[in-house]
Each structure stands twice: as C-alpha cells, then as structure tokens.
C-alpha cells in the first residue's frame, strides 16, 4: 500500500513540466476546417445548399445570361418536379433504413391506369383518377406488408415489385401510349397539374411544381412535428431500440411504404401534366434518379438521419448541373459523368461529417 503511494508520488513527479490538464472532450477549437465540420454536423442540409449555390454561380458564368434567367431557373424546377416527387417518397423509405426501387414503376403504372381507364374505357375521369391514386397506394401497401410482415429485405422486395409493377404497366397499357390530345378531350382533369402561373421576369411555375412543394411541406410537417414522424426517425436509427421503447415499428414500415406508393401516384398525376400523355415508355431510371436526389441531399442510406429539404436540394442540384452543362454546350455523356461525381462527393462529405460523432 505504501509502495503504491510512493509509486504514484514518483509518477506525479515525473509529470512535472508536462501537460497536467484533466482528460476532457475536445472543444474542437482551432482549425477552420474543424469549425466547418461542426457546423455541417449541426446543419447537414447546408451541404447540398452550398453545392446548389456553387452550381448556380458556375453556370451563371459558364453558360452566360441564358442560365441565370428567371425563366430558365423556373424551367429547372419544372424539370426536376417528377424526380423530386419520387425523392420525397424515397426519403421516407430511406429514413427507415430501407430502399424503394419500385417508385418509378408505381408512378408509371398509376399514370397508365388514370389515362387508359379514362380514354380507352370511357370511365368518368374523376373515378379513374381516384383509381389511379388507389393503384399507387395498393402497390405501396404490398411493398410495406412484404417488408414488415414477411420481413424480407426492402432491397429484394422492391427489386421484385419493380419487375412486377413494370410488367403490369405493359399488361395494362398494351404497350400503347394514351395520346395527349385524347386525354385533353376525355379527361382534362388529368392534365390539370400541367397548367402554369406566370410570375414576374418570365418565370413560369407549373401547378405540378407547386403541388410538389406542397407535398414536401406536408411530409416535412409530418416528419418533424408529429409523433409518427419521430417514430420514423427512431425506427430508422435502431428499430430494435424503437420497438422496445414501445413504437409499433411494423406499423411504421407499412405506413411509410404505403405513403411512398401514394406519393408516387400523385407524381403520376404531375407526370401526365408534364408530358400530356400517359406513356409506358420512359422513366426507366426514375427510381435511381430519386435515390440520387436523396443521397446528394445528404440523407443517410443507413437510416435515421436526413431531411426532406436536403432531398429537394439534391434534386435541384442534378437539374441545375444537367441544364447548365447542356446550355454550356457540353455533350450529354459529360452530364452523366458529372452526376456520378456529385453522388460520390455527397457521400464523402456525409462520411466526413459523421466522423465528428465517432
């Protein structure tokens, strides 16, 4: 015992002239880089926002006045509306650490149901519109039940339903496009989201873009201001802990996938507004584009972290780069290239920000 005391006294003496401060949390002071990392950790949405601002600045210089014109900027918003819609649905799912590969197929299927019932089968447009919305809802519900009740991995479930819903698109549409002119005659309601409002300076807002922003606001409110929203985050962060805390995680999964399906069917309405027609072609990579928007927007693929606002910025970033590069006369292959770089960059920054908590 006395030996110990002597030993520690010796050790104390050995410390003389060295740093004697008690172990503490790093207050991080010092480098500006650290301060930035802390700031971004607190406000992760700032990353996509900064990238968006930089993108706009670059193309304002590189593509001249054509890019930074009110009309062109509003055009970018129009062009990203569909992907942003799907991105909202995808954000919900990814927040629960899931993924939904079937969002594009659910959207196209809903649009075909709306268009074909109205034009080909003469169903009153209000009814076929409701059935179209129901289609997305049911497709989402199927995904949710397979994930939550049968407990299959979301990637596998939606990989499967992506094929299934894709096949249904061909079956229901007979691979035929419902022409814009026919929809206009039989059910103008379906093209309603294609109407526009002209703002000052030449900017044009489509009803579809406004609907997308409204949808984002509603879902933002649900995620951030309701118990259900907190349950979504909690389930995504650690679903076992959430379950033990009394959250009905099975219900959360089913609700999230069903809601995602429903949002896709509203996206289908906006899609008909945009292209006028109900077409089985196209939107082949819409599911991946939606995931791209979510990832660039800073939402973590591991669940529990991320925001809807980030997703909107993510979708806008892709739109700004594609539009800007095209206006600057850059070949389309470099547009693809740039989007790829952006994804990797976004995830790199996300990983860097996370290190602060590690």
């Amino acid at each position: 015992m006395s030996d110990d005391a002597t030993g520690s006294a010796t050790a104390e003496r050995g410390l003389q002239g060295h740093d004697q401060s008690v172990a503490s949390f790093d207050d991080g002071g010092g480098s500006a880089l650290k301060a930035l990392q802390r700031f971004l950790h607190e406000y992760p949405t700032a990353v996509p926002f900064i990238v968006l601002v930089i993108g706009v600045l670059i193309f304002s210089i590189a593509a001249g006045g054509r890019f930074f014109a009110p009309f062109n900027l509003s055009l970018v918003l129009q062009q990203v509306t569909i992907i942003a819609f799907l991105g909202i649905a995808q954000t919900l799912v990814i927040l629960t650490a899931g993924i939904d590969l079937s969002v594009g197929a659910m959207m196209v299927l809903s649009s075909i149901v709306m268009g074909r019932l109205t034009v080909t089968y003469g169903v009153p447009v209000e009814l076929s519109f409701a059935l179209g919305l129901l289609t997305g809802l049911v497709c989402g519900l199927i995904n949710g039940v397979l994930v939550a009740v049968i407990k299959l991995p979301p990637f596998i479930v939606t990989l499967g339903t992506w094929s299934v819903y894709g096949a249904m698109v061909i079956y229901v549409s007979h691979s035929e496009t419902v022409r814009a002119q026919d929809i206009e005659a039989a059910g103008p309601l379906l093209q309603w989201l294609g109407h526009t409002i002209r703002l000052g300076g030449g900017a044009v807002l489509t009803y579809g873009a406004i609907a997308m922003i409204l949808m984002a606001l509603i879902i933002w409110y649900v995620l951030n201001r309701t118990a259900f929203g907190r349950h979504v985050y909690a389930t995504g962060d650690d679903d076992e802990a959430a379950r033990l805390a009394g959250i009905n995680t099975r219900g959360v999964y089913i609700a999230v996938y069903t809601l995602a399906g429903f949002i896709c069917s509203v996206a289908a309405w906006a899609l008909i507004g945009r292209i006028g027609a109900a077409s089985p072609l196209g939107n082949q990579t819409a599911n991946l584009d939606a995931i791209t928007a979510v990832v660039i927007g800073g939402t973590s693929l591991f669940g529990g972290r991320g925001s809807l606002v980030g997703t909107l910025f993510g979708a806008l970033i892709v739109g700004v780069f594609r539009n800007g590069l095209a206006l600057a006369g850059v070949d389309s292959l470099w547009q693809e290239f740039t989007v790829g770089i952006l994804i990797i960059l976004a995830v790199t920054i996300d990983q860097w920000i996370r290190k602060i908590s590690a």
Partner: protein, 342 residues
Amino acid sequence: MGKWNILKAAVAGLAFYGAMATASYAADIVGLITKTEGNPFFVKMREGAQAKAKELGLDLRTFAGKFDGDNDSQVAAIENLISAGAKGFAIVPSDSSAIVPTIKKARDAGLLVIVLDTPLDPIDAADATFATDNFKAGELIGEWAKGTLGDKAKSAKIAFLDLATNQPSVDYLRDHGFMKGFGIEFKDLKHYGDETDPRVCGHEMTGGAEDGGRTAMETLLQKCPDVNVMYTINEPAAAGGYQALKAAGKDDGSVLVVSIDGGCPGVKNVAAGVIGATSQQYPLKMAAMAMEAIEKFAKTGEKPKPTPGKQFFDTGATLITDKPVKGVESIDSKKGLELCWG
C-alpha cells in the same frame, strides 16, 4: 403382383404421353428476340411473327431484353435457342456490336440468323438483315423539311432530339439521314454532334420517350429560342417535344416537327398537326418475312438475299404528311393510318 401391373401401366402411359409430346413438338423451333416488351414497335413485331409462325406451323419462342441496350438478356436468349435446337431466329439487337460473338456462335451451330430493324456492326455478321433503311427514312423527312421551308431553310435553326448517349446505329443513321436530306454536312457517319453548320442548335437525348423528349426540347429551346425545326428520333419523343413547344407558346406551326416510325399514335399526331411529317416503317412485315425465310431455310437450306445494291433487304419506308412537298413522294395520314402499327 397387382402393384407391379399398375406400375407397368403407369410407365407405359408415361412413355406414350412422352411420345405424344414429342410428336406435337416436332415442329421446327424458331425464335424472335426483341429489344424490350414495352415498345409497341416490338409488340407489333411479335404479333406479326406469331401470326406467321402459326400459319407455317412453326414453334415460335419469343424473348425480349429488360430495357433498350440490355445485351445480356439477348445473349441468354440466343444460348437458350441454340440448346433448344432451333432452326434459326430473328433478332433486333440491343447492342449492334456486343451481340456479334454470340451470333457467330449460333451460326456456327447451324442456325439461320436474321437481324431485324437495327443492322449489326459489321452488317455481314448475320445471315441476312431485314430492315428499314434508317438513313433513307431520315433523308425523307430532311428533304420534306427543306422543301417546306423553301428559302428559309438556309437560315433554319434545328433542334435534334436523339436517342441515347451511346449513339446506336439507328440513332446516327436517322440523324445523319435527316442532315443529308436537309443539306447539312456531317463529319463521321457513326458519330453526330461535331457538325460545324450553324443551323444545328444542338443534340439532346430523349431515350425515345415522351418525358425525355419534353426535357430535351426545353433545354434546346433555352439554348436557341429561335428554333424552327425539331428533328425527333421517334414519335413518342416528338410528342414530348411538342409539349415543350406548347409550353413555350410555339405550337402555332412556327416550328416544323419531323419524326420517324409510323406508329398509329404518331400518324394520328400527323393528322392533328402535331407532327409535320414522319417516315413510316413496317415492323409486322419484317417479322413475318423473317419467319418465312427461316422456314424456307429449314426445308431447303436456302438463305434470303439482300435488296440489289444494298447490304440488307429493305422493307421500305414511306413518308407520311398532309402537307406534301413537290419532289418528295408521300402519302397522307389517312392512308398512313391504314398501314400503321399500333
């Protein structure tokens, strides 16, 4: 003993059933491989082949890729046909060069390979090619646009709504065919986008669909607000591009829209004035002719011959427009509707 008899009877029954099954499947196996299930062009092709195969008593197996450009699924389909002992097959290649080694494998195994619509690269890698002359189809609409504009053709501004970044043969042939017809010089037949003619506003990709068509045309309208000709790879892309024109208030006929395909929705759009002119192709005819050729090959060993002066059998393209131009042969949309394909 009783048990043994039942077993014998069962075996005999099975053998009989087997013999029956063999007899009913003795028909020659032929295949049809298309790019995707989603495109009506290929759906019509399959219908044409099915009707003809039934008439000739052939056992038709059909396959399709998952998306345009899906080479792997087509390779697997060919391998399946070889192992099934097919006499031959018709294929619309998704990737006109990557599929060539697999086609060679099939030909080495004694199958007759007929390529439809999109020629292989090189074209003689197949036994025969039944196709529309895509270059000629482009030339027709190019000539029509030039004739319609008259003197204004010299100061035209043209938006090109193309197919895909990898520029498959159908894409560059139609695009450059249009340029030839309109009088624009291009450098390399197999690559578009490097023309120096100031009348070319730019090339944007559509994926051959409405959504891509709209976005592409919006972008090109931003680049050149004075566009007055819109070339499109196909009619869905044209319909999407037209929505962009409409949104910009340019759907008053101030922009000429030309396209290629001749599908029924496309021809209806010609009648409605959305599309000025389109070159019509005949997928049903292509597929039906291919079935006949394979049947003939199975019976006599004779292979089909190309159209004199060309490397392939030309199934023809017809210009459809309701505003004919002198010196460019065409039919009207009413006649076009009778011939359209879905």
